[in-house]
Symmetry: C3
Subunit: 385 residues, 3 copies
């Protein structure tokens, strides 16, 4: 278990938002700088179904990147031609395994990023061989196109993506959305142990469940040097709050008890929830990929491992008819809305310094410390391919 | 009567917009700094009908503020939870006279702003009592929710709101709009003596009226140390303009003579017009409340004092069927449109230094001087609750 | 012929975008500063049909300008009243050859820009004669309203607008659009010799034409000290590109040969294309007038000189039924779209320093050098009337 700092305790006197001094004491400087994300990781870039025969140019970690399908491969390279900066979204395919800029016919090898022809300058063009675009390793697995945004040779995909997610036949379905907000706030929300039993009380899926008032202390721990998770004390079904009274009042028809969820966070921006209350052994995997400093791309997947035959059909139906809408659509959307409305606080109002944390945020400070100490790299603003 | 400075006279040679030097000579430095408004005053925040059972979060004087109804009271506190910055627009009511943040259940006392529970951290949460939100005094009177945006104990509402406006039974109806523009420009337009007889010539209400060409000199004065008003010379019905000729040409059907309007301005951003040409003793009260530096919230009310019985019904009908649309809707909208199109000049093009004033602007410079010398405080950008 | 610098050769090692050092070596400092355009030239401001009885206020070269018709003349003056900055778009006409601000009746002489009355201040207003607005010479010729944006006495219109364009009866039709992008990038695209035979392959007008692969070397030259044009080597119909193969593959139905186009560029931002493939002697004239640093106003005209009688009718019909849509609408729009998508590269991503040029860009570097050495003036940000 990592040693946890209760940041709240170290803040100024109650009610006084810490200034000046706090900036110097902020205990996670790399984390604070990482508004564009962490470098040298595999990230989901697109769902397979989003990339057809036309290239797609999108923004990730503040970089404009082009994704191209060619033959059996997928390729990722910087999003604009080196000549005059035209993006490859209108790029054409004149030769195998190349992409050609629509403006003057500069043609690049998809694997190396090298300029292999400047068509309108003729076969004897002197610029050929003198220009090379940034490329990133890309691969298609489990219905997703992944890119390694980093330098040097990449690790194996399994080093960054949980092997359970990649298990053949486990994938059930995924959705992707771009939301306003800071990716770190979104990722912290995904592993935050204290909001689920308050925010999500109003979700449709929560209707039959009796939710506890609180869960006492939380104990974060690092598993395999790779995942951050936590255990908790026994939940308190109803609390007697000093000066206020008993809470919550539980109506008679809220009788179902919740499973003990398992929540895991992993670098660079991935969360996993197991032991969901869905009859089948569904697991949620999400990524909160920075787009730029004010937006993130949220991938969320349901996976059912070890389910075959008719139960597999049942899982597919349950996902497409029910969970896709009621869980990924409404339940998890509550989190995204929180991230969106927090955005001005964190992006414009110095929220990282003004926030006040409470006891369950020990999991979040553990995560910040984990990132601080283990992130392979910080994406700098100048990293645009 | 205050001593008036004719700023025009002190500018550089004709046609030369003053620069550099002018910035130093700008005679009203506090006024110029007050782009977010004046602090320590009662302001209208909402019409009563705009605040129901759900909290409303809005921006005033550059601050995000939450307004909440609870029992018979209205409360005003800073707009975001101190924990992670979630705004209270989705706040819930778990206990009387409190508001609870929807994300993690932080619960605040509406009167004191004190954190009284962190529901998801349980009854023994250590953060309770250590956090306090900014609150402002709020009160509901005459169909309006008022907030004292300032520090320390507030004055009586009657010290800032004209008692005539608060007279029981006098209120007829009000509207509120948010417009682009600087609140100071809007407020200056409200007391400006020279535009009414030019800009509003094209208003529908002006159709039967013969409007004078000009009104010669204006004499501003301060009444009761509280209101700025002015008197004028006898209006000039038609003028003979050198090199141009006689103006205006008055068609035969424009024969009605205008009443002598009474116009009053008061701190912080309030205007009053009496002796309107509406048969009944209607009076107009307006507030131009800063939202942020580029927007203001315009409250405009009609009041009829000393009118009872059937004439009260007549006033109500005349307002709702006619004046609401033709006066507040079209006539006064001409002013708002001017404020909107002036916005780039004052907000981006150094208009405060480039403007050239003429003789009737003596009323406006008197107002600036009055604000300069009497404003209780200037709202600074950092005042965000 | 001007001496041409192959900028590509002078850049850093292949694949390395030049930084720091390159900024010092950028060979065209005036050109680089000219993001708001070149000063002291005649520019097209509006098509005649766009200016009716109401004034039009628009932005050109970063200045807000008002255009007014009065009697037989057109006038151009700064867009806002000197008093409080109200734009003249709602200006009224109270006296001949004047414009009156709608707010307080300040009345300006259209020819001189002098304040000749402040109506609401009466005939004895002391401000009259002390204020003068910036004016620019304006003239209406060939269906276009032209303004000389500069200081001092203007040259003849024919010095800046090609006399062929002004030839009586030559005008066929014109269109105007505002696009996102840098005017310089748009103008460079207009004289760029290498994109037409790649980008426009996909235009409908190109369907029957066999387009060459490349055109080898280009030889820019200055004609009459006024126009930049270029000649080329014999086009290469099909090329054998090392490592890639033969290109293009020409289908049997693409058999028509292209005329040898003549392309000319002229200061400040004008292009001309002759010998178009349209049976009739059509010529294209375009202007890329800066609006602000991120937008330009594109005027494009077709002219047919020496065509009279029934052929004139044929030209009119061919333009209105066909070329207006298929050439100005779709073919040339391909260029505008390129300019739009390049905008982030040049406006936000340091494109002027990161771009890599190839051999045909010799025409563009010749143009840059021509502008650098011959531009009468650079429009500075402070030039707002």
């Amino acid at each position: 278990m990592v040693e946890i700092e209760h940041r709240t305790e170290r803040l100024g006197p109650a009610g006084e938002p810490a200034r000046g001094a706090a900036r110097r004491r902020w205990p996670w400087p790399r984390y604070m700088r990482a508004e564009l994300g962490l470098r040298n990781y595999w990230y989901p870039a697109l769902l397979s179904r989003q990339l057809g025969r036309r290239p797609v140019v999108l923004q990730m970690l503040g970089e404009e990147l082009a994704f191209v399908r060619d033959g059996d491969g997928v390729y990722c390279l910087q999003g604009r031609c080196a000549h005059r900066g035209v993006p490859f979204s209108e790029g054409r395919r004149e030769f195998p395994c190349t992409i050609t800029c629509p403006y003057h016919g500069w043609t690049y090898d998809l694997k190396s990023g090298k300029l292999v022809a400047a068509l309108t300058d003729g076969p004897d063009s002197a610029i050929v061989g003198k220009v090379r675009l940034q490329t990133y390793p890309a691969i298609e697995r489990q219905g997703v196109i992944w890119a390694f945004i980093g330098d040097g040779p990449p690790p194996r995909l399994e080093d960054d993506v949980p092997p359970e997610f990649l298990e053949p036949g486990a994938y059930v379905g995924g959705r992707v959305f771009v939301w306003d907000g800071d990716w770190r706030v979104a990722m912290e929300g995904a592993i935050d142990p204290s909001h689920p039993f308050y925010l999500h009380r109003s979700a449709w899926l929560s209707t039959p469940f009796s939710m506890p008032a609180a869960r006492g202390k939380h104990f974060p721990e690092i598993v395999d040097g790779r995942y951050l998770t936590y255990s908790t004390e026994v939940p308190l079904p109803v609390g007697d709050y000093p000066g206020l009274g008993r809470w919550p009042r539980v109506p008679w028809w809220k009788r179902k008890r919740l499973n003990k969820l398992g929540v895991w966070g992993a670098l660079p921006c991935q969360s996993r929830v197991v032991n969901l209350n869905f009859n089948l052994p569904f697991e949620t995997y999400s990524w909160y990929v920075p787009v730029d400093r004010a937006h993130y791309r949220w991938f969320t997947f349901l996976v059912a491992r070890g389910v075959s035959g008719p139960r597999r059909w049942y899982a597919w139906l349950k996902y497409n008819l029910w969970l896709k809408w009621i869980y990924q659509g409404q339940f998890l959307r509550q989190d995204s809305l929180m991230n969106e409305v927090m955005a001005p606080f964190y992006l414009e109002q110095d929220g990282w310094l003004k926030e006040r944390l409470h006891r369950p945020d020990v999991v979040i400070t553990a995560w910040r410390k984990f990132v601080e100490e283990n992130a392979r790299g910080i994406q700098e603003p100048g990293c645009r391919g």
